[in-house]
């Protein structure tokens, strides 16, 4: 078992040269969460193919077919609290003992964040790698490259309060071959994708009819860039040697998903204070339909190349809210309304 408490062979880093699919930016290929996990696993000595095969999971657009914190060869052990003080002692003890921890801070309390003091919003993750002299050191895909994607966060009562969700990484590498990758990644992806495509058409109809508000758009970008696009990229990377034709198809769909996610984030910048003005998000509908088309092509190719029975034709007039329900769940997960304000006299240790 290579787990969160395992001795590190080298310090964790975020490094484009070492990382999976890091071309134009840190979120090429992987999400902020997976970049953190990748960094922790590489520090424990795993190679890039081992990392991809450990973290890849079958594509699941509905997001209800497996636990969200599980991977093929491991899992994250999350500690979630409304108030970070509840587990601050455990958190810093782990970090100080050399166990990197994935941290999902409440951005309301995170110094310098655009949501600091404005809104409780939890959608970004960093890797806490050191704590000393009242300063928390984290690896952050959003930090300046010139600082090695590191930030040094002075620990204040607000920061302690905001450290309300963190996780340790637990992975056991298992050798894979063409048969195991087909059985555990490709076939489940083909089946689930065939089932879920009608639910994408329902979102498209809903978007055309009602528009997309800012909070729904943020939840959608978290689903797309946090789950869908990384899943496609990791499956492609995991099967690159054994199923190169499908790997290409998976990468094409991954790029379409990335374009959709980026366009949604871009739209947030244009929305500004008019976050619920649905017209801001109208231009992104084209990127959504392009992604939908790419996933449809992927489904066709998976079924054809794997010799699987095509999915049954869905009733085009029948609504399927399976994927939309995931977006709604994500809205609730990312907006932490139950977080109370910190007081300046609170202890940080």
């Amino acid at each position: 078992m290579v787990d969160g408490a395992a001795a590190l062979r080298r310090p964790p880093v975020l490094d484009p040269e070492l990382s999976l699919g890091w071309d134009d930016g840190p979120l090429d290929g992987l999400s902020c969460l997976l970049r953190c996990v990748e960094s922790a696993l590489r520090a424990q000595g795993l190679s890039n193919p081992e990392i991809a095969q450990a973290l890849a999971v079958p594509l699941d657009l509905r997001g209800d077919r497996r636990r969200s914190s599980s991977f093929r060869h491991g899992h994250l052990h999350w500690r979630n609290a409304v108030d970070g003080r509840q587990h601050w002692a455990e958190f810093v003890a782990l970090v100080e003992s050399g166990t990197p921890c994935v941290l999902m801070p409440d951005r309301y309390y995170w110094p310098g964040d655009e949501f600091e003091g404005v809104k409780h919003f939890l959608d970004h993750m960093v890797l806490a790698v050191a704590h000393a002299d009242g300063v928390l050191e984290v690896l952050d895909t959003d930090a300046p490259p010139s600082d090695g994607y590191r930030r040094w966060i002075p620990v204040t009562p607000e920061v302690v309060r905001g450290c309300c969700r963190f996780a340790t990484v637990h992975v056991t590498p298992v050798p894979d071959d063409a048969a195991t990758l087909r059985a555990t990644l490709l076939e489940p992806t083909a089946t689930a994708l065939g089932e879920d495509l009608p639910a994408l058409r329902t979102i498209e109809r809903r978007w055309r009819r009602d528009g997309l508000t800012g909070s729904a758009a943020r939840a959608l970008h978290v689903v797309v860039l946090g789950a869908v696009q990384p899943s496609l990229f990791l499956i492609a990377t995991a099967v690159r040697q054994t199923h190169p034709g499908l790997a290409d198809e998976l990468l094409t769909a991954s790029r379409a998903a990335q374009r959709l996610g980026k366009a949604l984030i871009g739209a947030h910048r244009w929305a500004g204070a008019q976050a619920d003005d649905t017209s801001v998000y109208d231009p992104v509908l084209g990127a959504f339909t392009a992604c939908e088309a790419a996933l449809t092509r992927l489904s066709d190719e998976l079924h054809r190349q794997l010799g699987l029975q095509p999915p049954p034709a869905a009733d085009p007039d029948q609504d399927d809210d399976g994927v939309w329900r995931r977006v709604v769940r994500n809205q609730a997960w990312c907006y932490g309304d139950q977080v109370a304000p910190a007081r300046s006299e609170e202890s940080t240790r």
């Binding site: 930016g25 980026k262 366009a263 871009g266 739209a267 244009w270 231009p283």
Partner: protein, 83 residues
């Protein structure tokens, strides 16, 4: 934004509307990097023109490194939407 507006004018108008835009005015020769335009902005800008003109941009059209100035980007968009 009228249909008769040039692509350049539409692009400048869009860039001025972006939150955090550092400039009071934007000209054709302004450098995209100086305006803080990144790949995320590019994804939204190109989606805007794709949807408005029912155009289809290629993957390489989204690569920020292909363009230096606002005029470079407007010219490339114009070529796609007006053939």
């Amino acid at each position: 934004m009228a249909d008769g507006d040039s692509t350049l004018n539409q692009l400048v108008s869009l860039l001025l509307q972006r939150q955090g835009n550092p400039a009071d005015s934007i000209g054709a020769d302004d450098r995209l990097l100086d305006l803080g335009v990144d790949s995320i902005d590019m994804a939204y800008l190109m989606s805007h023109f794709e949807r408005r003109y029912d155009a289809d941009f290629a993957d390489e059209d989204f690569e920020l490194t292909r363009y230096v100035t606002v005029a470079d980007l407007a010219k490339a968009i114009d070529a796609r939407i007006h053939g």
